[in-house]
Amino acid sequence: MEDTVIIALYWERNERAIEETREKYGGYCYGIALNLLHSPEDAEETVSDTWHAAWNAIPPEKPSSLRAWLGRVVRNLSLSRWNREHRKKRDPGITELLSELEDCLPSPVTVESALEEKELAAALDAWLWKLSREDRRLFLRRYWYGTPLQQLAKERGLSPARLAQKMLRLRRSLKTTLEKEGISL
């Protein structure tokens, strides 16, 4: 079923909307949640929460890309669950991703500057745009979709060590960009 039709079902408050969403995007959402949480039970619960969130948010929201919108919801819900239950346990998944993303943190700036969400988003957007398509996909498949490094290495035909090196270079590049933009997190 086309996304526009599914969204129309939400707007009509027709509960078929959830069934259709589950059928079309269930696997996709589960995959993201599982990558982030590393727990099938938690992933299933997160996906279930996602359907509720979609029902509550649409309307008034009208996503132009339902897949991307659902993915964001899954990421946010996964993070919330991780915060509640797994933070202290240092489980893999989000813990690993956050640990890697620490390499992207700019050094603290000496000039006082309040973080503007827009500035960070704009800087990140511009940095992603300047990457080659394959590097951009690599970065987002790792840090948006949570794809494990081993799987990414296989996709790219690289050894895990080479891939890790490449990912480190990308993270360092982002860090430099954020520092140049004077962004303080």
């Binding site: 956050l98 993303l101 943190l105 960070l120 957007d125 080659s132 987002l140 270079r169």
Partner: protein, 497 residues
Amino acid sequence: MNEDRVLVLYDAITAVREEYIEEAAAPCRKVRHWGAWAAAAACLFLLIGGWSFLQPLGFTIVNPFFRAGQGDGTGGSGGQDDTAYHYYAGPVLPLTAEEEGLTAEREVEYDFSLYDVSLKDDGRYAYLRSRQACLVTDSYMLTAGEPGTFTLYYPFAATLADDTALVPTVKVNGEVVKTELVAGPEGDTPFSWEDMKALMGDDYLNRSLEALPRLEERVTVYALSDFHGRESKTAKNPTVEFAYTQDPVKTAVTTWGFNGGSNDLQGGKGSRHVSIRERRGSTAYLLVLGEDLTDWSIRGYADGACETPSEGVGATVTKYESTLGEMLALFWKDYRGAFLENKLQVLLNKNALLGLSCGVLLDRSSNLLAAVRTLPFGLEDVFDQVLHRSRVLYLRFTADIPAGEAVDIRVSLVKYPSYDHTGRGRERRGFDLAGKLGSNIAFTRLEASVTGTEHIVVYRQDFGFETENGVLKTTRVALDPNREHWYMDVGAAPKKK
């Protein structure tokens, strides 16, 4: 872990634009590609006569592959095939030809005389010495199975924003020849030999020679000119705002010459503004692809944030129809003036630059509206990419090879070293050599030599030179012509007391 800070970044990544999320949904590819359009790049016709690297003071040369901050921070482990540098200069690449059936004996000389610490830093060599450049001579005795006129290509790694001094000089039988410049497809920044191989991939030269796209897509142009508005105590940064409403599906908007703005892609409302004192040119352009704007207005403000209206600030709006290709050509003309005269792009055929720009857009998406929507700021981003992305350039020239005779081809070029800017290897300078990459010439003999050896120490090398405590004891070696790569890491020799 700085969890709170990282989580802010996590959230920002969550919110990246949908096109990128969709793009990354499919698994990454093993084989690199150079664009959705038929295979990259420009024919850039440049006639060069003469030895160009001995330039007077004042030129600046940009590293072809340098991206500040990129690197694994683990230090200079040298040029082994599976290691990387923070900045990889690329190898000396071999000559190739359009025609098949050529054989050659090849000699490559690395001259480290610029590492002589006693040299005065005069205008001629100061910059090259500061970059610890090496002067390379890549020589060939070329023979052909059948006599004739052959089209030859000498490759070198660069970006289009690099200085013209990086362009090699070619001599055929002792005479300097005129060459034409051909730009290859852009690719991922290489950090190692392996990355370099991936950048060139298969058939790089043929892909460099393929025709470029042109964009005949109709656009509606809103040109803002005759800006007026003075700075004063009450108007510290007079700014003109062009606000508009568009159909978010059927319309895409991009700009040239604006300073900033906002665009609500979903809601369909946007604005662009020009700070009168900071504007780049006399005219700013807003281009509309697809259906025209449903509404627009222009307003003057006293400040760059567009918060305090000002009646005395404004511009004239002229609306007309054109094509995206025509507008890009106009913008290139505007853009070129912003650069110094000694940059490669200044010498390029304008149609070639235009073709590359079209290719950048089509590489983003074959749907131009979608491609334009991915531009963060405006068409200036396209031009930045054309100029600064890594690629291999070729010098094209011809040579007559008579029956039974060999032709002497001698190429002189400046090579910057590869290096790490932090870490344990940061004192080392890497120079490497490609034996066969991208060449269709059969090499029957290959030798490497080093001069100026008293000015360097050798940390690591796999050429096969004999060394003792970093000092070269032999300065010439025969290499296996079938091997693909060699490297050496050197440093400046300590000053003798």
